[in-house]
Structures are given as C-alpha cells and as structure tokens.
Amino acid sequence: MRKVYMDRIAGTPLHPRVKEAMLPYLGERFGNPQNLHSFGQTAAEALEGARARVAALINAEPSEIYFTSSGTESNNFALKGLALAKRKQGKHSVVSAIEHLSVLNSVKSLERLGYTSTQVPVDQQAVIDPDEIRKAIMPETTVVSIMLANSEVGTIQPHFQEIAEVCRQAGVVLHTDAVAAAGVIPVDVQELGVQALSLAGNQFYGPNGSAALYVRKGTGILPLIDGGIQEHGKRAGSENLPGIVGLGEAAEIAGREMENRIARVQPLRDRIVQHLSFEMEHVVLTGHPVNRLPHHASFCVAFVEGEAMLLTLDMQGIAVSSGSACTSKSLKVSHVLLAMGLDHALAQGSLVFSLIDSLTQEDIDYFIEIFSPNIEKLRKMSPLYTQYLEENNNDVQ
C-alpha cells in the first residue's frame, strides 16, 4: 500500500544525512563532553560544532543556544526560567490563547507559585492584534510569550515585529515558541526582536529528543533543570550528544535547503487546499489563507468527526492529524480552534495536513482520489448531515 505521511507536526523522519552524522556518537564516539580526556574532548568539539550550527540557523551567537530535550522543555524553560529570574520585578505573564499546551500549562503551574497571567485573544484566522498585547501588559508584567507559527492551523503571525516593538517599549521580555517555524521558514532572532526562542529538531528532519532554547545575551533566566555545569550551568544533565549532533546537522541542512524545500512542498500543499476548499462542499480552511506555513493545510470538514476521518485515511496508508476531541487523550476539542471562534460541532471535523519533503505529486493525487469518497461515506452515516439535508429540503439518500 502507498504510504503518504502528512503529519509532519507530529514529527519528521530523520534526514539520511542527519542519521549518518549521529551514528558515530552511537558508536565509538561515546565520550562525555565534560570530560578532559580524549574521549571527552572529541565529544566537546562535536557539542560546540552543533551549537554553532543551530545558532547560525536563527542568526544567534553560539553562546546563546541551550540544548534541551524537546520543544516542550524549551517552552517550560523559557516561561518558568524567565519569569522566575524576574520575580522581584513582577509576577505577571502575557500569552496568546493559541499557544501550545507547554506554554499554557507552564503559565498555569507558575500560578501555583503566586504568579498570574493574561491570555490575549486571536481573530478567526488565529491572528494576534499587537494592540491586545499592549492592553494586556501591566506594570507587573515581566514576560510575554507569543508563538511565531501555529502548528494546528498554520498561521504565521503577520504582526510579530509590531508585537516585539510593543514589548520593547514596555520593557518586558519577549519569548516566541518557534517550534513549528524554525528550520521550516526563515527565522532570525535579530529581525524578530525576541529575547528567547524555542525550536525543536523533530520539526525539520532532526531527531526526537533534541531541541534548543535561544536566550539573548544579557537576558536573565533560571534553570528548569538544576545540577551540574552543562550548558553554562543553565541546563544540567549529561548531554544527549547523538541527538545534539543530529540537531546541528539538521539545522545546517535546513538553512541550506529551505528555499528548495518550500518551492517543492508548497504547490503540493496548494493542491490539497484547492481540492478541499473548492472541489468539495462544506469544508472550511482554518488559519490564515496566506500567512501560513508552506507545508501546512488545515480544515474543518462539516458533519463528520476527525478521528473517524483519520482512521479511514490511515486504513488507506494516509497519515494526518486532527484537533477533534476524540483524537486527543484529554477528549477536548483543540483550544486553538475554539479560540478562533469555531463552533464545537465544526471543530470536531478538524483535519490537519502537514507535508514532508519526500511527498510526490502522485501521493497527493492518490489522496485526492480517495478523500471525497471517504467523506461521502462518513457523511452518509452522520445524523448531522441528514439533519442539514432535511433542513435544506434535500432528499435523504
């Protein structure tokens, strides 16, 4: 059976060159970078080489890169570490309503320590108005965290630089969760004007278990993980060297190949959008129609539920994801879709396509061939569809 993987936001396959770069560190190069002997020194060089490559991807200094184990950890490190470092100045954070759970729940756990927070709303296309940030910032605000690109609906914040300017003027630290953006589209910490930025290797053909937090020189941050002297004492623990080397390699390739990759994947993505938006009925695009990740297409398909679509596609070799309640272990509809004002029933029909480089035109043709019949079958089964047809005086088949 043809396998069509369109769930990039859940993780990418390793680039073969990334795997190759990692292999020696799963073999004879097993040294610990903190050790003075030759095994350790070989490891230390690899560690610093990877750091320089990750820094280059986002136009940062190597010393501003801290390696972590996931995008989630980077976000926790940023939200908690920045807020705790500034605890004497104030205890209020500002985030958007569409942040990843690792941001939202970090803020929630700070509340246990006497912190408070404000969630700024988004519009129907998941866009954040810089004025909302301005309004949310209070004298006791110290940290603002705004996602650069949303993985569920694809929106890239069009007014990010204005948000940064608002934060600069207010004298608060700005972090961005760029996990869905870094390595995919150009990301430049100088242009963005952020003090901290999260990225993760598994979004651009690097390994799972390897991510990073950028923290601008001079920005105070407390460790999330205390212990030894690794990562300048800001993130303790024996380094996951194979993962870090893989992240470095993936960053290097991503920087070099970014344009080509976008040029390749975007037309395939556009074909999917065309089919669902214009060749099918009762399907709405979610997120911003233009300011969106080039590999990303997301929709709500009316009258059917996401998990049912996902499973049907899976039986035919196609992997996608959904923000429906049934696809989440928490059985809650994606907070992102609700924040955008979608109604519950429609949000249950969420489908997210995130494309990887190796997909071909044939893969997309195959998908398009089977998709509508699948939806038709599920809609025939749906009491909501029957009701809709009745209300619109159509025949129930």
């Binding site: 009258f303 059917v304 539920e305 996401g306 998990e307 049912a308 499973l311 049907t312 039986m315 429906s324 309640a325 049934c326 696809t327 272990k329 059985l331 509809v333 519950h344 029933a345 249950q348 025939k380 089964m381 749906s382 009491p383 909501l384 569809y385 029957t386 129930v396």
Partner: protein, 122 residues
Amino acid sequence: MYSDKVMEHFSDPRNVGVLKDADGVGEVGNPVCGDMMTFYIKVKEDRLSEVKFQTFGCGAAIAVSSMVSEMAMGKTLDEAMQITNQDVADELGGLPGNKMHCSNLGADALHKAIEDYRSKQK
C-alpha cells in the same frame, strides 16, 4: 489502539441508515462531547425486526453503533433492554479506557428508541 473487531465494524459498519417510518427513534450525545448517535427501530410481535443507526463520532462510536444494531436485531424488546454498554464493549473485544464514557453509548440510544416506541404504544 482499537481491537480488530472494532476496526472491522468501523470500516464496514452494519445497518447504517435512516428508517423514515420507524416505530421508535432514540438519540444520545451531542457534538460538544464529540459523539452523537440516532437509532431507528421497527418492531414486529414485540421483536426488533429492523434496527438502523446514524452516528457522528469517532471510530469507537461507529463500531459501537454497528455492534449494538447487530446484537439487537431479532431480540425481543425486553431482551434488547438487557443489553448494556459493557456488553457491547466486551463483544467488541474491549475499548480504550478513555472511550468507555463518551463513545460507548449505543445501548443507551437503542434503549431510548425502545422507550420511544413503548411510549407511543400507551
């Protein structure tokens, strides 16, 4: 995640459809929680002579509906009222823990349809 039996019923659900001249109709769920089921029954000599359903929901909800329709068919109304959600889950070879609450409502919908029929008889 799902048992083979669930996947079998999900991919080839039995008795999908609407009975326009149903003797009883039962509806459970709502789209907020994610699953909705509508059962239609026809009754002949106190037995279920026809059972149809429509379901909006996840794989488990669809498989459960299909399985309930199969289990109920031909049973007397009293027998059909004995079918529990747990029976359905067992018959399907089990359901994931988080699907037991919201998705496993097929027996409830069936019972509602039977009650609807009975209330009309009075």
